[in-house]
Amino acid sequence: MTDMIRATGLVKRYKDVEALAGLDLDVPEGKVLALLGPNGAGKTTAVRVLTTLLKPDAGSAVVAGVDVLADPDGVRSRIGLSGQYAAVDEHLTGFENLEMVGRLYGMSRTAARARARELLERFALSDAGDRPSKTYSGGMRRRLDLAGALVAAPPVLVLDEPTTGLDPRSRVQMWDVIRELVSSGATLLLTTQYLEEADRLADDILVIDHGRAIARGTADELKAQTGGERVEVVLAHPADRDRVQRLLAEVATGEIGLAENGRELTAAVDGGVGALRRLLEGVERERIEVLDVGLRRPTLDDVFLTLTGHATEDATGASTPADAPTPEVTR
């Protein structure tokens, strides 16, 4: 199987920060690769290099058989990009936005208009198609932006954090749309901060940190590395910590994490519900007062902690709460 996207040794420096520090990646034809990492890991920089928006300081990339540096225009006519911030003109209607994109791809007016109507229909925007996109909801704008990426039916799609900032319902709608695209055979590179999103959409996940790849595998493989599900306990009294730590140790498969406030304990467990029940029995038996006990799937933080030995923290060393799903990290 041929690779539709192949990048080798990409390096991009901004002043004293290396946004990309020798990133390699490849996406076989018809497959979906998710680039997973926190803010500032280099995801967007990688996307900008692969979509010709940015020249790397070193390294090479071939997209749809065309060299990104040698023939950027050739790449642009073979890719569709949908970014983190919906790239639509707010004063234009949905139809006008798509028609304009079609014309700029070099389509005839008739072809561009027909394609615009077809895409509006497909993304459930027909009714809103003749309203300025300013009046659209966030989810509708993202769908319009994604439609813009599909105007020329490119063989390679690049989606940069397609659901960041969307409410849960719009996010699920977006996932449905993307899954449909994938099932029709597009090659897709997707960036995300959410392990769950990568899990649902991608064949393969590449975890990146500080501009380089640190792990690759399916969602299951990565989760297996991070030790599966987690049990989380929030204590009512910090004094009970040692007793709960002892109870947790009986079910934990790895180290027990302790949050900075000294009241939250986390541990990876095997056989989730069973482990939780045993822990609860212990807690009840010893009459320990807890505020919250729960079972959760590993988050990006857990994956990071396991793979890198450090949390998803920025260069200044400010740590993030263990349960933050989207840690803020500066580049």
């Binding site: 006519s77 990009l81 790239a87 004063h91 234009l92 005839s108 932006d145 020329a152 039916a153 490119p154």
Partner: protein, 284 residues
């Protein structure tokens, strides 16, 4: 449903290169800018009111104080100067429009498309010609109302308006370049004020050339805005026959001198702006 992997016909066609593509893609972007005027007509209202204000202010406030001498009244002398000043100031819109575009997500879409790198600039400068056409119409009507007259033929008058628009188009490429370099839209207004105010005031737009002396006079004589104003006055027939013809070459050959400036500005600032567009858009 069309599969995304379907090879799209248009992509396989060879696209025309260079200038043709810059013009066709530029026209698509210009249409996009014009749609905005249609959707936010409020912008237009102020664009059109300020020239009326200018004509009336200068005609009635300075009209009594400034005497160009001879038989032609100040108002008649003045209007061509106001035309020149207003269309040159119109270039600010180009800078502001581009500075605004660069901050919006739509630029990422443009940059990821196989379109001409000059299209966004060609589109913006082209659509801004519409602003200038409209404000010239409004100013001409206001001018006619306060006593300005076209005394040469219709053809000359059309040439006069054409020259004003052409020069304004060239200046809008200068402001396009500035607009691409400034960090925000607010800066553009100040930047253009600093450049365009002296350019239009150290000229014969509002006061006769004869009222300047020494070094300042040389500056005024060679200022392209003076040539533009002089050329417009000639083409509209607003030159006072009782005043001796100016001696400086740019004033004697005002049309030619203006056209030379248009060529120089375009030759310098079109490539400079396109280069800056590539740089600015790739920065983020």
């Amino acid at each position: 449903m069309t599969s995304p992997t379907t090879p799209a016909g248009p992509l396989e066609q060879a696209r025309p290169n260079g200038v043709v593509r810059a013009l066709t893609d530029g026209w698509v972007v210009a249409k996009r800018n014009l749609i905005k005027i249609k959707r936010v007509p409020e912008v237009l209202v102020f664009v059109l009111i300020s020239p009326i204000m200018f004509v009336l202010l200068f005609a009635f406030v300075f009209g009594g104080a400034i005497d160009p001498g001879g038989e032609v009244a100040y108002r008649e002398f003045l209007i061509a100067g106001i035309f020149a000043q207003t269309v040159v100031f119109g270039a600010t819109f180009t800078g502001a429009g581009l500075a605004e575009d660069m901050q919006k997500g739509i630029i990422d879409r443009f940059r990821s498309l196989p379109m001409s790198p000059a299209a966004v600039l060609v589109g913006r400068t082209t659509s801004d010609v519409v602003y200038n056409v409209l404000s010239l119409i409004i100013m001409a009507l206001t001018g006619l109302a306060v006593g300005w007259r076209i005394r040469e033929g219709v053809v000359d008058a059309i040439l006069g308006f054409g020259l004003l628009l052409l020069f304004a188009y060239a200046v809008s490429w200068v402001m396009a370049w500035v607009g691409l370099m400034v960090p925000s839209v607010e800066v553009i207004n100040n930047a253009s004020f600093i450049v365009i105010m002296p350019l239009t005031f150290v000229s014969n737009a509002f006061v006769p050339l004869e009222s300047f002396s020494g070094f300042l006079r040389t500056l005024v004589e060679w200022n392209p805005v003076s040539a533009l104003t002089q050329a417009s006055r000639e083409l509209f027939g607003n030159i006072d026959p009782s005043i001796p013809a100016p001696e400086a070459w740019p004033q004697q050959n005002a049309e030619l001198y203006t056209l030379i400036w248009v060529a120089i500005i375009l030759a310098v600032f079109v490539p400079l702006s396109v280069r800056q567009y590539r740089l600015s858009a790739g920065k983020a």
